[in-house]
Structures are given as C-alpha cells and as structure tokens.
C-alpha cells in the first residue's frame, strides 16, 4: 500500500487525467516550470509538454475567461488560482460566465472547467491566504463546489471534477496538503454530490469539510471517552449538498453540529441547518449547532487558532447538543 500526501495525490490526479484525456489542459500562475506553489503540478509540464501544461501571466480573470473560451473550442481546462483570496479577481468571470454560460447557450457548450483553489486557513499564512470562499461559490447556480479532507478522497474528487461536464470549484485545504493517507488511488466511489460517513455514532452527528474534518474526528475520539457516540460526516460536496445523508443522520442521531472555518453568518452551516430542518424537523432533539470561524476577517498567524474551530469548541458544542 502506498502512502500519499494530499499534494501528491492531487498531482497524481492531474497526471492521470492528462494521460487519459488528450483534451485536458492544465494552466495557471507558476504551475509549469516551478510545479506550483504547493507542488501540485510538479513534473506535469516535463511529462506532457508546454502546450498542455503552461504558465500564465498573473491574470486571474484572464485565466478563468480563457477557460471559458477554451471550452467553446472543445478543450477541458483545469486551472489553478494560486490562493483563495486571489480567486476574487476572477469572480466576475466565474459568476457571470463560467457558471451561466451553459445555460446561456442552451446546453450547446458544456463548461467542463475545473477551478482548483488552495483554500482555508491553519498554515500561519499572511493575510489573504486563509480565506474560506465556499459560500460565494456554493451560492452561485451553475457551479459545483467540493472540498476534500484526505489524500485519497482528494484524488477521487479531483478526477471526478475534471470528468464532470459542469464547472467544479475544488477547494483544496492548504493545511492538509502534507497530510498522509495510505491506500490505492481510485476515482470511483462516492461521487460529487455525496457525503461520506467517516465514523459511525448514535448520539450526535458532527459535519465538516476540508481541514475541519480532522478536528472533528479528533473531537469524536474525545467524546467517545465521555460515552458520547459521535458520528462524523465529511460533507466534501458543498454544492450540491447530499440531502439524503443530511436527512438520514439527522433522523438517526437527532442532533447535529456543523463545523466550518468560514465566518458564521450566512456560512454554509446555515444552509445545512436549514435543510436539516426542512428534511427532518420532527426527528430533531436539539437545535442544530454551529461551530465556526468568527464574523471577522481571517486573523494573523498568532491568532488563527483562536479563530478556527478548536477541538474544545467542537466538543463543547456536541456536549451541549446532547444534553439539550
């Protein structure tokens, strides 16, 4: 069994996608010769050449817009935005065109674009390097949004995103790039639109995505010592959400805590809570709790652990919900 870092697994996903589909192109800032600031595109240009793997000027709107044009010409672009906050210059292209173009041309051209964005915090980054932009994208009709939490699932989700006929935003948790997981890489298994239950439990369900999944798993282990049996769900597909899993877990455990790094207000946790109410209100034994970042800009490195949901905050929320 091979041990994979998430960065390595993502790299392999790109490598395999380039090999399988001659229409796949990989481009972005510093993705070619240097192999990307997180090494996710390392070695791809050497293997597949400068026509299919190439550097661009610092030009996020240009990159996203060029991807739209490339789809019209029959290509399948996989582009990298160097960091979360630097995907914002491309927002107009993403919201006005990437998301809507298929509709605008009545399905005659698919926007089979994969937009990879290193995202979320936890790496003592400079400002603008710790953003959680999932709500912006998940709020936009026409886009799909995924956020893997582990190496093997990162491989699977990226392969599925590239194969998907719709535009998929892949939010790669920077804090987990060097995390390791052993196993065989596979692109089949749970698809985009499916959540995964990572740990079974009966008293409460803890839901998270990206780097928070690891903290939620740690929390579940601590809670187990207190005889609280916590189920852990990696939502992983943020748009579409897996309504079936939301409903089932809410029914079976009656209590839900949703955890995310993004600010609380109008965060995706609110959508998860609302859906659970719609789908399983009669089965709820406590209000859905949210453990999130604060409604502040992402703080400097020395304060980031105060901002991020900690194991303590997650466990506290779970205890309260169980005792409700």
């Amino acid at each position: 069994m091979t041990e994979w870092t998430m960065s390595g697994a993502l790299n392999r996903a790109l490598y395999d996608a380039l090999a399988e589909d001659p229409r796949v192109l990989v481009f972005g800032e510093d993705v070619g010769r240097s192999g990307g600031v997180f090494r996710v595109t390392d070695g791809l240009q050497a293997e597949y050449g400068e026509a299919r793997v190439f550097d661009t000027p610092i030009s996020e709107a240009g990159i996203a817009g060029a991807a739209v044009g490339l789809c019209f010409a029959g290509w399948r672009p996989v582009v990298e935005m160097q960091f979360d906050a630097f995907s914002y210059p491309a927002m107009e292209q993403v919201v006005d065109h990437v998301a809507k173009m298929r509709m605008r041309v009545r399905g005659r051209v698919d926007m089979s674009i994969t937009l990879r964005i290193p995202a979320f915090g936890g790496i003592k980054g400079k400002e603008h390097h710790g953003e959680s932009p999932e709500t912006y994208y998940a709020h936009t009709a026409g886009l799909k949004v995924v956020a893997p939490s582990s190496a093997l699932d990162a491989y699977r989700l990226l392969r599925q995103a590239i194969a998907d006929p719709d535009p998929v935003i892949v939010l790669e948790p920077k804090a987990r790039y060097w995390s390791k997981e052993s196993g065989e890489l596979a692109s089949d298994g749970p698809g985009i639109g499916n959540a995964r239950v990572l740990r079974d439990g009966e008293n409460v369900t803890l839901m998270a995505w990206g780097a928070m999944v690891a903290r939620v798993l740690d929390s579940a282990a601590i809670l187990a010592d207190e005889a609280i049996s916590a189920r852990v769900v990696d939502l992983r597909s943020l748009s579409p959400l897996d309504d079936a899993v939301l409903e089932r877990c809410a029914r079976e455990t009656g209590r839900v805590v949703v955890v995310h790094e993004a600010p609380r207000s109008v965060g995706l946790g609110a959508e998860v809570a609302a859906r659970i109410m719609e789908l399983a209100f009669d089965h709820l034994q406590a209000p859905v709790a949210r453990v999130t970042g604060w409604d502040t800009p992402y703080p400097p490195a020395s304060l980031e652990q105060l901002y991020l949901p900690s194991v303590e905050r997650i466990c506290d929320a779970a205890r309260k919900v169980v005792a409700y």
Partner: protein, 353 residues
C-alpha cells in the same frame, strides 16, 4: 500600399474615403464590384433593422435595445473581412456583425425580447459568440478560444469586438496581455463611438487606444470607422497577419454613436445636439454610397433595390419577433447543469407545479 499600418500624426485615422465620398487613398481593397455592392447592401439592411428594433422597443415588443446607428461601416466592414471559420466574440451592440455572419436576426433578438439570455442561436454553428453584457468579459473568452484554435492547428482567427469604454476594464488588459504574450491568432477590434453611456471617450482614457497595442507587443492601428473601405482593409490585414501566425492586432475604429446608449437612455442630458448633427454629416452609408455610384460600381436602381430589400427584411424580422412566445417555464431549469443535482429537480417540480 504598404503592409504596415499607416497612422497619421498622432490622431489622424487611416482613411480611404473622405466624408464626402471622394477617395483620398487607394480604393482598391481587393473586393470585386459585386462584393463592394454587398457592403452597401449590408449597411443599408443593418440600419433599417436597427431602426425597426428601436420601433419594436417603443411598441413594447423588445425590452431595452442598444442601437448602433452610425456604426454600420465599422461593423459591416470588419465582419465582411472574416473567413468562414473565424469566430466572433461580440458585445451587445454588434447586430450588424451578427447579420453579416449569418446569425438569424429573429433568434438574435430573443435576447432583447427578453425571452433568452446569452445566445439563443447556436454560437458554434454561426461562429458568433453569445451576446455579452458585462463589459470586456468577452475578451478573455476570445483569448482562450484563439489559444484553443491554435492548439488544434487551425488557421482560423478569433475576432473580439469591444467599445472605447471597455478599454478601461481589467479584462481588456488581461486579454490583450495574453494575446500578446501568447502571440494569439486574434484581432482586437475596438469601436470607439465617442461615448460609453454618458462618459465621452476623452474622459475614459487620457491616451489613444490604438497606441496601447505597443505596450502589449503587437501593432495597433487607428482607422476611420465610418469609412467601410478603410475598416475592411485594416481588418483584412490584421486577419491575414494573425492567420500567418504573426499574432494579434488592435484596431481602433473611430466612429460615432448617433443614437442614445440604448432605448432606456436620454442622451440630451449629457451631449450636444450639434455634435450629433456633425456626426450625421459624416454618415458612413452616404459616404460609401456616393463613392460607389461615382466609381460606377452601382447605380440608383441598385440603391433603391437595397432599400426595398431592407424594408422587406425589417418587416419579416418584425413579424418573427412578435410571433416569438415566452419560453417554456421548464427552460429556466433545463440547462443550468449538464448533470443537475436532485435538489434542483425538486425546485423544478415545485415551480412547475
């Protein structure tokens, strides 16, 4: 006739026909008499349809409509130079280009009738991209398309239209920079019509738009956009250059927006009637018609026939537009995703009852 773009001292645009129709340059731009007549026919047709669209809007058959009167030479002259496989990325004001490309006018006008966003026509079949409202955002699409075409070994050229106001947007810069650094087979065609809604081009940018090309590492040229021959020649040369693999060209066609920005705009709030009257005197159709007649390439009968054809066409389009029903409600949901999520399916059921 040199191969290099000829610019006058600073601002004087390249011109073949003076405003009164007398030739001031070599009028042999490589078009046959029949093709020259076609140019006039398209311009007359386009103007007639444009006026019909304004009327249709006034009668409540179209939503807001952005007219292009005064810009017929810029649009027809450039579009007529395109090869069959060349691909156009338009703004929202290129109806004349669409006509020359063979886009069905009734389908095109679905956009302004408010029955469909984007391109109800097939952009790949017509090689005319979806109508684009967010200013300058079509330009990176053009760059990407040009790159894709080149990767496929095609010698087709990508043609991107935009206005003077669009050059203040970041997307203009990003696309022009990509075009330059990747030497893309692409023509950036700016219609400088003097205005961006209420802002005159003098307040849009302190420099001259065509000169920016130098900063991106490719040639720029300023042409008289009301001189259909000059526009055609400049475009044909730029297309040829791109087809040869020598990269992009920026063309700034100096023209004028005779009408308001759109039917929702009142231009008297910000511009002098006298300016509009001066522009009318430089009318692109009258200019070309008088040269065409004087050169003996057409006669009055031909001109009358063009006008009659245009009337008939406008009537046909009017009938088609009015007959167009609202789209079926399910279309609001049908193309959002190739692979739609179940939650959207439930919303569809909820909406459609």
């Amino acid at each position: 006739m040199s191969d290099e773009p000829e610019h006058g001292a600073g601002t004087e645009p390249v011109r073949i026909l003076a405003p009164d129709g007398s030739p001031v340059g070599d009028a042999d731009v490589g078009l046959s008499p029949e093709e020259l007549r076609e140019l006039l026919r398209w311009m007359v047709l386009a103007r007639r349809l444009d006026r019909e669209c304004v009327a249709l809007q006034r009668q409540g058959e179209l939503t807001v409509y952005p007219g292009f009167e005064g810009q017929e030479a810029a649009q027809v002259g450039s579009a007529f130079a395109l090869g069959q496989l060349d691909f156009v990325w338009p703004t929202f004001r290129e109806l004349a280009v669409a006509l020359v490309r063979g886009v069905d006018a009734v389908q095109y006008l679905q956009y302004h009738r408010g029955t469909w966003h984007g391109g109800p026509y097939d952009p790949r079949a017509t090689r005319f991209g979806p109508i684009c409202i967010p200013i300058a955002t079509q330009l990176p699409h053009a760059a990407g398309y040009a790159l894709g075409q080149r990767l496929d070994g095609s010698d087709a050229v990508t043609m991107a239209y935009f206005g003077d106001g669009s050059t203040s947007e970041g997307d203009f810069h990003e696309a022009a920079n990509l075009a330059g650094v990747w030497r893309l087979p692409m023509v950036l065609f700016c219609q400088n019509n003097g205005w961006a809604i209420s802002l005159p081009s003098s307040e849009q940018t302190a420099g001259e738009i065509w000169r920016r090309a130098e900063g991106y590492g490719f040639p720029g040229v300023r042409v008289d956009g009301n001189d259909v021959l000059a526009v055609h020649r400049a475009t044909a040369r730029a297309l040829e250059r791109a087809r040869r693999g020598d990269g992009p060209t920026l063309i700034e066609a100096m023209t004028y927006r005779i009408g308001a920005h759109s039917t929702a705009d009142d231009a008297t709030r910000y511009r002098d009637d006298a300016e509009v009257e001066r522009a009318r005197a430089a009318d692109p159709i009258a200019r070309f018609r008088s040269w065409l007649l004087a050169a003996g390439h057409a006669d009055d009968r031909f001109v009358t026939a063009c006008e009659e054809q245009a009337d008939a066409f406008a009537l046909e389009v009017r009938t088609g537009v009015i007959a167009t029903p609202a789209p079926p409600a399910e279309w609001m949901f049908d193309w959002v995703y190739a692979d739609p999520p179940p939650s959207l399916g439930r919303q569809r059921d909820e909406a459609l009852g």
